[in-house]
C-alpha cells in the first residue's frame, strides 16, 4: 500500500499489506496472519527444491542490480567444505529509496523468515542483517522481533525443531553509503573500512571471511516467503509486461510529488499512472519535469519520457534509464535542476571510499565544477569537461559509485541542457529575475 496513504485499488499489495499496523510486529499476530508457514514448508521441501522455486519465480534483486535471486543462490557450492554465510543488505542509502525501512519497521518477521529460508537453502548457519546505522527505529523493531523468534525456537541451534541451526545477527553500520555495495558491506561486517573488493572472486566463491556467501536485499528476501507459500509459478505470473520482470515491486516516490510514499505495483505498471493516479501527480500549481525512477544513481528521464515508460527492468532500459532500487525522485518546474544535480554530485563525492582515483577525483571535481557553474563562474567548455570526466568515471573503477555519479550528471545535462546553459550565459537560473 502507498504508505503512509491508504491502499490504492490498482496496487498489488503483497509486501506492504501490514505497513502502518504496529500489531504486525508481534510474533503471535504475525503467525496468525500466516507467518512462518513458508519457513516450515521450505524446511520440508529440501534445499534444492527451494532454490528451484525461487528460480522459477523469476524474482530479480530488488536492491538495484536486478540479478536473478534464484540463480545467485544456485552459485553457492553444493558441497559444504567451509562455513556458508548469508547477508541481508539493509544498508538502504540510495537517495530516493525508503522501502526497506518500511519493510523492517512494520514487518520485521517477513525479513527474518526470508533470511531463514535463504540461509537454509544455501546451507548457511549464520546470517547477518546489515542495517545502516541511521536506521535506529528499524533496528529496534527488528531486534525485538529477532528476540521473539529466538524465544519461540524459530531460530537457533534447532530452528523450528527441525534439526538445522539458523542464527541471525543484526550488524549495525555507522554511516557510509558505500557499504551498500556488497563486498564493502562484507568488509564492514568483518570490522574493516568499507572499501569494495575487486571482483572476481564473487561472494558465492569468497565472501565473508573468504567463505561462500550470498547477499540479498531486504525486499528480495521479504518476497521469498510468498514465493514458497504460493509457488514460483504464481509469482512468475505477476507481470504486466514481459516474463523477465516478475512479481511486485515497492516504489518509493519522493521529491516534488503530491503524495510521497511507498507504492506496491506489479512489474510492468505504467509509470505515468503511478505518478499521476497513485501518487497524486505534481504538487498544486506545478508541472513535473524530470524523474529518476531507480534512485539517484540512474539516468534522468524527462516527464514526457516518463509518461511512456513501463516500470520493469526492460521498460526503464528502453528509455535510457534503469529500474534500480525503485526509489523514484521526482522533479518539478520549481526545482533548480542544476543545483539539485550539484547536490547529487556532492553526495557521491562525500560517499566515495576514495580507493580509486577516477572516483575520488572525478566525483569531487564534478561537484566543484557544478558549484562554479552555480556561482556564475562557469566557462563554456565546462559542460564538455563534465562529459569528459563522466567518461573517465565509467567502467574504470572497482565498484560503480563513480559510474552512478557520472550517469546522473551527464544524463541531466543531456536532458536539460538549456538549464545548464542559462547558468553559463547569465550566471543564474533560467527564467530567474
Amino acid at each position: 500500500m502507498g504508505y503512509p496513504h491508504p491502499s490504492h485499488p490498482r496496487e498489488t499489495v503483497l509486501l506492504s499489506r501490514d505497513f502502518g499496523d504496529p500489531e504486525a510486529r508481534r510474533l503471535d499476530v504475525w503467525i496468525k496472519r500466516g507467518g512462518y508457514q513458508a519457513l516450515e514448508k521450505a524446511l520440508g521441501m529440501g534445499r534444492d527444491a527451494v532454490i528451484e522455486e525461487v528460480k522459477t519465480s523469476g524474482i530479480r534483486g530488488r536492491g538495484g542490480a536486478g540479478f536473478p535471486a534464484g540463480v545467485k543462490w544456485g552459485f553457492m557450492p553444493k558441497q559444504r567444505t567451509k562455513p556458508h554465510y548469508l547477508c541481508c543488505n539493509a544498508d538502504e542509502g540510495e537517495p530516493g529509496t525508503f522501502k526497506d525501512r518500511e519493510i523492517m519497521r512494520w514487518t520485521p518477521h517477513a525479513v527474518i523468515e526470508g533470511c531463514a529460508i535463504a540461509a537454509y537453502a544455501i546451507q548457511a548457519e549464520d546470517g547477518y542483517i546489515y542495517v545502516r546505522g541511521e536506521f535506529t527505529e528499524p533496528i529496534r523493531v527488528l531486534q525485538a522481533a529477532l528476540d521473539e523468534a529466538y524465544a519461540k525456537g524459530i531460530l537457533g541451534p534447532n530452528a523450528m525443531g527441525r534439526g538445522v541451526r539458523i542464527d541471525l545477527t543484526i550488524h549495525r553500520g555507522a554511516g557510509a553509503y558505500i557499504c551498500g555495495e556488497e563486498t564493502a558491506l562484507m568488509n564492514s561486517i568483518e570490522g574493516k573500512r568499507g572499501n569494495p573488493r575487486v571482483k572476481p572472486p564473487f561472494p558465492a566463491a569468497a565472501g565473508l571471511w573468504g567463505c561462500p556467501t550470498t547477499i540479498n536485499n531486504v525486499e528480495t528476501l521479504a518476497a521469498v516467503p510468498h514465493i514458497i507459500t504460493r509457488g514460483g509459478a504464481w509469482y512468475q505470473s505477476l507481470s504486466l509486461s514481459n516474463p523477465k520482470s516478475t512479481g511486485t515491486k515497492l516504489f518509493s516516490i519522493c521529491g516534488a510529488i503530491a503524495k510521497p510514499g511507498n507504492y506496491e505495483v506489479t512489474m510492468g505498471f505504467p509509470l505515468k499512472d503511478l505518478l499521476y493516479d497513485l501518487a497524486g501527480g505534481p504538487r498544486p500549481g506545478r508541472k513535473l519535469t524530470a524523474v529518476q525512477p531507480g534512485g539517484s544513481s540512474v539516468p534522468f528521464i524527462t516527464a514526457e519520457e516518463a509518461e511512456r515508460t513501463l516500470l520493469d527492468y526492460e521498460g526503464c532500459l528502453a528509455v535510457g534509464t534503469q529500474l534500480g532500487s525503485g526509489g523514484m525522485i521526482v522533479y518539478d518546474d520549481a526545482t533548480d535542476i542544476v543545483y539539485q544535480v550539484m547536490r547529487l554530485a556532492r553526495f557521491y563525492a562525500h560517499e566515495s571510499c576514495a580507493q580509486c582515483t577516477q572516483c575520488r577525483e572525478g566525483t569531487a571535481w564534478t561537484a566543484k565544477i557544478l558549484q562554479k557553474l552555480l556561482r556564475g563562474e562557469g566557462r563554456n567548455e565546462d559542460l564538455d569537461l563534465l562529459f569528459d570526466l563522466g567518461e573517465q568515471m565509467t567502467g574504470k573503477t572497482i565498484c560503480v559509485l563513480s559510474d552512478s555519479c557520472a550517469a546522473a550528471v551527464t544524463s541531466a545535462i543531456q536532458k536539460f541542457r538549456p538549464d545548464f546553459e542559462a547558468y553559463l550565459r547569465d550566471g543564474r537560473r533560467a527564467g530567474a529575475a
Partner: protein
Amino acid sequence: MSQAGPGTPAPSEPLPRLFEGAARRELDAILKQYPTKQAALLPALWIAQRRQGWISPAAMAEVAEALGVTVAYVKGVVTFYTMYHQHPVGTHFVQVCTTSPCNLCGAEGVVKALLEATGCKRLGETSPDGKWTIVETECLGACGFATPVLIDDDLIESVTAESVPALVARYR
C-alpha cells in the same frame, strides 16, 4: 562529515573505563556472534560512543586492546564511518538530511531554522550552552517524509522550517 570544532567544551571529568561490568558482558556476547574478534569492531565502537558520547583516543586504545588489533587500525576504521564522533558533541546530536529529494522539499530551510532555534553558530559546531550539535547528513533513507531529522536516536519525520521551534523545545 564536519565534526565539532573549536568551541566544543572539553569534558570536565575523566571518562569511565569502557569494557567493565555490563558493557564487558555485552561485548562478550557480541564476540560469540562472529568467527573473528575483529568483526566486533563496529559494535564495540558503538558501545564506546554510547558510554562516553564520542570516540576518544583513549577509547580507541581500549577497543584495540579488547579486540587484538592496533590503535592505528581502529583509528582507520573510526575515520571511515561518519557516525562515530571524533570530537565531543553537544547533549543532542542532530542530523538533517539535505540530499536532493529532501533538498527540493525545503531541507536547507530546516537547517537554517535549527541553527537559529538552538543558537548554534554554524554546522558542526556545538552551541555555547553545550546542548546542541547540528550537522547536515547525506540521505537518511526517509525521503518520503521530507525533511527527516535524526535527533540522537529519534528520527523525526516531515520536519519543516516552521515546525522546528516546537521540535527544539521538546528536547530542551
